[in-house]
């Protein structure tokens, strides 16, 4: 009985229990406003009276009618307490969550700004789910990319910005050095990176007070932090040096490879692949193909790690692996890593196994066209709710382009090997909502072929061909369609 009552109470008041308050900066073209947003069950609620007052639009707050009316010229926007429906000049707009009114404060889901208020102000409110900031109108926000790498005794954080920035280091707390970025708002590609080596635990982008900064979480082993700017303050190398090691003995930061500099010179808008997710097939109990030469799960992980390093150096992209250790993952979890990180490309790596020991065929797979068409038609014409296994439909053309480019580059890089493109109903590709391909290389059951797969020289050629392909894909129009 008591448990049931507690359960009911949790059900009814659960929303409020999970509410958390966060600072939410809103960047206008010539000013900024920091509001306190309530995050309730993943819905971000913002106090809209403050925001409307900042835009200078007149409004009427009617306590008796429980409505708030905003006016701008002949336009009128009416919102009602506890309702997800708002009215713009008599036209009804449905918000994902209802508008709340608490203690004389009007709280609206953040989509109210992008779907409703933007019609009144005439300037777009840009909000990316998962972030805690909004850009209004044509406010200038260069992208900020960050990558961390362990380079022998030092750990290097590389920052790339689309416009020149200035960095200032504050080490008030030796375990939490802060890099203040002296520039207006920035648009970080990722909010946080978890590195977890012997010097650096994580880096978090923080602009909760409207000032851009990076908060580093470092270990006690860090003796010094050295910042080296490059490329007219568009690239910064932040090197963490270890205790006990003479500072002078630490290797000076090297200039990035020529290709990386050339790439970084290009405006960030030209580089369309910002996040690549690589999926080493199998893992844990699921060994994949296994012979005396080794297991598929180990070989795919080795290749994926090498591909990550090469892609980071060459493309400057954020590269994530679906697994970075020997763990089992189901297909859905793999594509979810790509979906959740808004990847621009998803590459699943597999090693082949054929019953015939002579065959050494490799293939490039893309999701079978038309898979699930019949069932989605039966489900109704409106595609508001797409079954998870139909996620692939959004980027069919992009997947095809990626497969074609990979086929050409692999044929160039590994002579004598054929890489036919096949269409298959593959679970791991079906729910990935970005261009996605699966590559199956070689045949582990063929002794000679398996030896080749294990050779470092062959792996290097394979990785280089794939990096060339992904580099080419990043410049194709299909990559931009993301």
């Amino acid at each position: 009985m008591v448990v049931a009552a507690l359960g009911a109470a949790l059900f009814i008041f659960g929303d409020r229990i999970q509410a958390a308050e966060t600072s939410f900066p809103i960047y206008f073209p010539d000013s900024k406003l920091v509001v306190k947003a309530d995050v309730t069950n993943r819905t971000v609620y913002v106090p809209i009276k403050e925001i409307i007052a900042h835009t200078g639009l007149p409004f009427t707050d009617s306590v008796a009618l429980e409505t708030l009316t905003i006016r701008s010229g002949s336009n009128q926007l009416v919102i009602t307490k506890n309702s997800a429906l708002i009215s713009f000049n008599g036209q009804i707009i449905l918000l994902p969550s209802p508008i709340l009114r608490e203690d004389n404060r009007w709280l609206a889901p953040v989509e109210f700004l992008t779907m409703g208020l933007s019609k009144m102000t005439g300037s777009a409110f840009r909000y990316r789910p998962g972030t805690a900031r909004i850009f209004v109108g044509n406010v200038d926000v260069p992208e900020l990319e960050m990558n961390a790498q362990t380079l022998g005794p030092i750990t290097r954080l590389t920052l790339r910005s689309a416009a020149p920035i200035n960095l200032e280091l504050k080490r008030d707390d030796p375990l939490k050095p802060v890099l203040t970025i002296n520039r207006g708002p920035l648009d970080p590609v990722r909010e946080r990176i978890d590195h977890r080596d012997r010097l650096l635990r994580s880096v978090t982008y923080d602009d909760s007070d409207g000032e851009s900064k990076l908060i580093l979480d470092v270990t006690r082993d860090v003796a010094d932090v050295r910042i080296t700017p490059a490329n007219n303050n568009r690239i910064f190398f932040v090197d963490l040096l270890r205790t006990g090691e003479a500072v002078t003995a630490a290797p000076p930061p090297t200039e990035p490879p020529a290709t990386a500099t050339a790439k970084a010179d290009a405006p960030a808008t030209n580089r369309r692949v910002r996040v690549v997710v690589i999926d080493p097939g199998h893992g844990g109990m699921d060994t994949g193909a296994r012979t005396a030469a080794g297991s598929e799960k180990d070989l795919t992980l080795t290749l994926a790690r090498r591909l990550r390093t090469a892609l980071q150096a060459r493309l400057g992209a954020t590269v994530l692996l679906t697994r970075d250790s020997d763990v089992a993952l189901d297909n859905e979890a793999r594509s979810a890593v790509a979906n959740n990180n808004q990847a621009n490309l998803f590459v699943s790596l597999h090693i082949g196994y054929s019953a015939d020991k002579m065959e050494a065929a490799s293939s490039i797979y893309i999701m079978k066209d038309g898979y699930g068409d019949a069932s989605s038609e039966a489900g109704g014409k409106d595609q508001l709710f797409l079954p998870w296994y139909l996620g692939y439909k959004v980027h069919r053309q992009g997947s095809r382009t990626a497969a074609n480019i990979l086929q050409q580059e692999l044929a160039k890089g590994i002579s004598g090997w054929k890489f036919p493109i096949r269409h298959a109903p593959l679970a791991v590709l079906s729910s990935a909502t970005m261009p996605s391909v699966l590559i199956e290389v070689g045949n582990l059951n063929n002794t000679v072929n398996a030896q080749t797969l294990l050779e470092t020289d062959f792996q290097t050629r394979l990785i280089n061909a794939m990096v060339d392909a992904i580099h080419r894909f990043s410049e194709s129009p299909q990559a931009a369609a993301n």
Binding site: H282, G352, A355, Y389, P425, L426, A427
Partner: protein, 194 residues
């Protein structure tokens, strides 16, 4: 008189028990019916098996079945031949060892629901290419020769599986795909009865 009645009752009870025990011997065994009549004419079919070269994925073998009037029986004959494996060289068996076709049901809409023994998944060597080859050997062999069957849904051990052995989706029924073969689209004089 009373004794006679008692004997009669015992006799009836015994006969009931005997009947039950007879049926219990094989409760789920379907009556063993041949898949075709001796008078059914033979008809040639094309079966698809994984090719040795791997390119194309599936090669074609010509076989003969008997044109029985039941669509289910024709489908079962084809699946039997797929289960038996290729007779020519240059091809591999499509199904893993010890795999049996257990049931088939064909819906009015032309979806064949085929149930295989668990070994289809447990004995499968895995790998994207070989899973794809197994699935389309089954789907193409059935749909190519029997135009009434538009799509095939594969069940394993009587239940729906997400994938065959980790890669290829079995969630939805699959249609014929000749892009993995050298076969030309079928002509209409196939094993169907009109």
């Amino acid at each position: 008189m009373a004794l006679g009645f008692f004997v009669d009752v015992i006799g009836r009870v015994q006969s009931v028990i005997k009947d039950e025990s007879e049926t219990e011997e094989n409760p789920f065994q379907p009556p063993a019916q041949p898949l075709y009549d001796p008078t059914d004419p033979p008809v040639s079919v094309k079966l698809f098996f994984p090719s040795a070269s791997g390119d194309p994925l599936l090669a074609v073998e010509d076989e003969t079945i008997f044109k029985s009037s039941e669509l289910t029986n024709r489908a079962l004959q084809i699946l039997q031949k797929v289960q038996d494996g290729p007779r020519k060289g240059g091809m591999f068996p499509a199904l893993p060892k010890e795999t049996k076709v257990q049931e088939i049901f064909i819906s009015e809409q032309g979806t064949a629901i085929v149930n295989f023994s668990n070994t289809l998944a447990t004995n499968h060597p895995g790998g994207v290419e070989s899973e794809l080859a197994t699935i389309y050997s089954i789907v193409n062999s059935v749909t190519y020769n029997l135009p009434e069957i538009k799509e095939v849904k594969i069940l394993i051990g009587g239940v729906e599986k997400e994938t065959l052995a980790g890669h290829c989706l079995l969630l939805l029924p699959l249609q014929m795909d000749l892009s993995v073969t050298n076969a030309t689209p079928r002509v209409e004089n196939t094993a169907s009865v009109r």
